[in-house]
Symmetry: C2
């Protein structure tokens, strides 16, 4: 397993920087001290006014240290080759896992980033690649978690096993906060350690005999977890798709919403809105079509609303805003991108009691069994944080975090727009989807990395319809985003 | 979902008690104030001396409140029947989940406990049923978690996504603490949100085409997760077993170690030692036999060592103490029963790089892929707690917690022994396995509940070979354990 650490420290005048790179396995340890002409980044006055509250003051100036943390994009690189031993068991390798492609997106990016950092050990590499949050968690939330942690040392405050489905109060608060008047009740909500875990649990729920559809492009975990469960055929190199998965093309031509007249019926339809990676949020009209399509086909939608708080205007924040959706949809959501909980781990999944299998059996009853058998609930400390997130102060603080990243998005959108690119997403999502027509995503990725030291994500990594696009994430310290945009302007001027 | 809360508060002279019972769905809310002749419970001088340290002073007297928390045994009761809606999807219910038995152990106990509490609303019900920890987490551990939580509100202390496999420092500390000189390295260790989650992930790893063996009796999650993955046939009512699972009988006749000459070869062998529910810890000699058996058959052992710190003497604490085990075994473990982390959620699984599939492919490489695709790492706050657990102070504190529960165990063992029962387990585990020859476990469970208001666990719920036994858990406040034992003596005098 490769391990990377890229830590950038800036002093008051932003001239002195330390780049520190550690890789545990195949590479060297490099440390260098360099002078870097960091162009002064300034925030607009409206921006700085916006952040002159609740712990965001530090963002107003550039006199900050910018730890960019272990690059999460590098985490999934396979373990180093095992030492050769003679003994082998007689257990066959799971053939479904063997179908997965070695060139999984984020490890590949990690490898390329690593190679780049070896080539340019002095470069100030900025990652706008993986969607990893960078801004501190608001105080009101962490103090609730600290309080809960300390209470666990008291007789009165100690709690052991919690309900696998989550604490009653948190489930109730989630229902009233996000699903008020939508008919979703406390017992429809299953609190989890995050959407990624729940996506896998949902795959286990449905098993290997279902068919599934994904948006193309989409978050790789949908397809990979489907492959692992044995729902798919082999990977077909020529079309860059797994057999037996319905890839629903989402491109500028169809406003990033699939042409449902061309989509084959499947049992399960993953649908993410606002979408990762395209940043596109489906309109109410589009979601009405989607629900009707599912209803006509007897399909189940797994609606990933992890970015719902980034939505503005009338665009739905939940699939359950669409009449009838409770009979055909599951929704999975997360605190990660609202409260910076990517490391704290807390999410939830809504399985309405109205959702039934073909034999009339409630899906929620089986999901409850899956959760009870293979999960013991989210950390009680994280749940205390979740409850604080849903207090009036917590909600205001989360809106500030979301607002901050949306300002980053606007900076990135403005940059590429000013350079003449066609830019999508960004409005209702923390991702900007930049079009490089006729070019290979990986070529663009490589050129940007080579010439600007900025890590992005090649669109083709999310599916074949992502070819020719690059995803730029808005998760980053303001200075890093501004500096990256300065370099983009330099490159594409 | 039924929700229960049973809170018992005792005043100085232990005469005034409040019993508060809430059930959200099918039952009434009952509240009563009663006078209860609580027999004075006294600790031996050695006991009180032992706990006159580090926050355990409170345990020395009976002037404590005894919150028994939400009864975790009731958590898995199925959701209430969904309202009738006309619409059904065309998605077939997963046939494997349909194989699971409705009368799953802990929900059934929950239902019986609920009925009992309705019948005797004034009873002081004591739960020695599910193995849920009750003692506060040592300060050194919770303060580390609180510190980490608060640091997440700072630019310097904020971390986003961590490595799915766990933080490097924690993995290294786990390796050096529990596997020193056993050849297990940091990168063989995958930190998780608990053993139960990892058991399910291991099932997903191996897929539906493997065969598996379990100890009979054993922790129900092994069998249930296997059924869910489609590794088994239907449940066979006559023998109380699922088809295609090898049940390895563990009874007093074979010293709770299976007669391997009668065990059929399977791909996977779940083996828990110290065992839940029998409390029996396999000896070095027995584990050497087990590893040899696996090696001869090319099988993979999934060794559940969640209670390893309860082991004393030369009895192995890890399967990797057995030469050659790295080529045939995975070990899953947890902080739950050492540090009271049942609600905090932190565990780990060791997949040695020497463990290979029949084609020579390393199992760890696929497990890494499973973890990366369906998990995003344990909560960073919980991991900070884990690191504190492994500090010298944390280790000492965990040993105290374990020592406290082992004293409870001894009290229970002594009680049943003095009453003339054959008692097993208890020495190297927090579970006491009491034999009621010729009787039905459920009948014994019911009689104990009816006449003493103490919840135990019927042995047959862990497998057919558990028939005629009852498991008594040592997880409980001292006063509750002493009071339960007083009642046992009254019942069986």
């Amino acid at each position: 397993m490769n391990e990377f650490r890229n830590s950038l420290l800036g002093n008051d005048n932003d001239k002195l920087q330390v780049v520190f790179l550690v890789q545990s396995n195949h590479f060297l340890i490099t440390m260098s001290l360099l002078q870097h002409n960091h162009v002064a980044a300034s925030l607009s006055s409206s921006t700085s006014a916006f952040f002159a509250q609740n712990g965001f003051d530090v963002l107003r100036t550039q006199i900050v240290s910018l730890p960019t943390k272990k690059a999460a994009v590098c985490k999934c690189v396979a373990t180093s080759p095992a030492e050769q031993t003679a003994y082998k068991t007689k257990v066959s390798r799971n053939g479904n896992i063997a179908k997965l492609q070695a060139g999984y997106l984020f490890p590949e990016i990690g490898r390329r980033k690593a190679a780049h950092m070896l080539k340019y050990p002095d470069a100030q590499v900025i990652s706008l690649g993986i969607g990893d949050t960078t801004e501190p968690i608001p105080d009101v939330i962490t103090s609730a978690m600290a309080k809960r942690a300390l209470a666990l040392s008291t007789i009165e405050g100690y709690t052991g096993y919690g309900a696998e489905q989550g604490e009653k109060e948190l489930r109730a608060r989630l229902a009233s906060t996000f699903y008020s008047n939508l008919g979703i009740e406390e017992d429809d909500i299953f609190v989890s350690d995050g959407a990624k875990s729940d996506i896998s649990r949902l795959q286990v729920l449905f098993g290997s005999n279902v068919t599934m559809a994904v948006q193309d492009p989409s978050y790789p975990a949908y397809v990979d977890s489907s492959v692992i469960m044995g729902q798919t055929g082999q990977f077909q190199k020529d079309v860059e798709k797994f057999a037996n998965i319905e890839y629903m093309k989402c491109t500028p031509e169809n406003d990033f919403f699939p042409d449902l007249s061309k989509v084959s019926r499947t049992d399960i339809m993953f649908f993410c809105s606002p979408n990762n990676p395209t940043g596109s949020a489906a309109s109410r009209e589009q979601l009405i079509q989607l629900v009707k399509f599912a209803k006509d086909n007897g399909s189940i939608i797994i609606y990933d609303s992890a970015y719902a708080m980034y939505v503005s205007g009338d665009t739905p924040k939940s699939i359950f805003e669409i009449p009838g959706a409770k009979e055909v949809a599951i929704e999975t959501a997360s605190f990660s991108k609202y409260a910076g909980f990517t490391g704290v781990r807390l999410g939830w999944t809504v399985v309405p009691k109205e959702l039934k299998y073909s034999d009339g059996f409630p899906v929620a009853k089986d999901f409850n069994r899956i959760v009870c058998t293979g999960f013991n609930g989210a950390s009680n400390i994280a749940q205390a944080g979740g409850l604080a997130c849903l207090s009036p102060e917590g909600l205001a603080a989360m809106h500030q975090v979301v607002g901050f990243y949306k300002e980053n998005t606007q900076i990135i959108v403005d940059t590429f727009t000013s350079l003449g690119f066609k830019v999508y997403g960004g409005k209702d999502a923390p991702y900007v989807w930049v079009h490089f027509p006729g070019q290979s995503s990986w070529d663009v990725f490589s050129e940007i990395l080579e010439k600007t030291h900025v890590v992005t994500t090649p669109g083709s990594g999310f599916g074949p319809a992502g070819e020719g696009f690059v995803r730029v994430s808005a998760f980053g310290h303001r200075n890093n985003v501004l500096e990256a945009c300065r370099r983009f302007k330099e490159l594409y001027k």
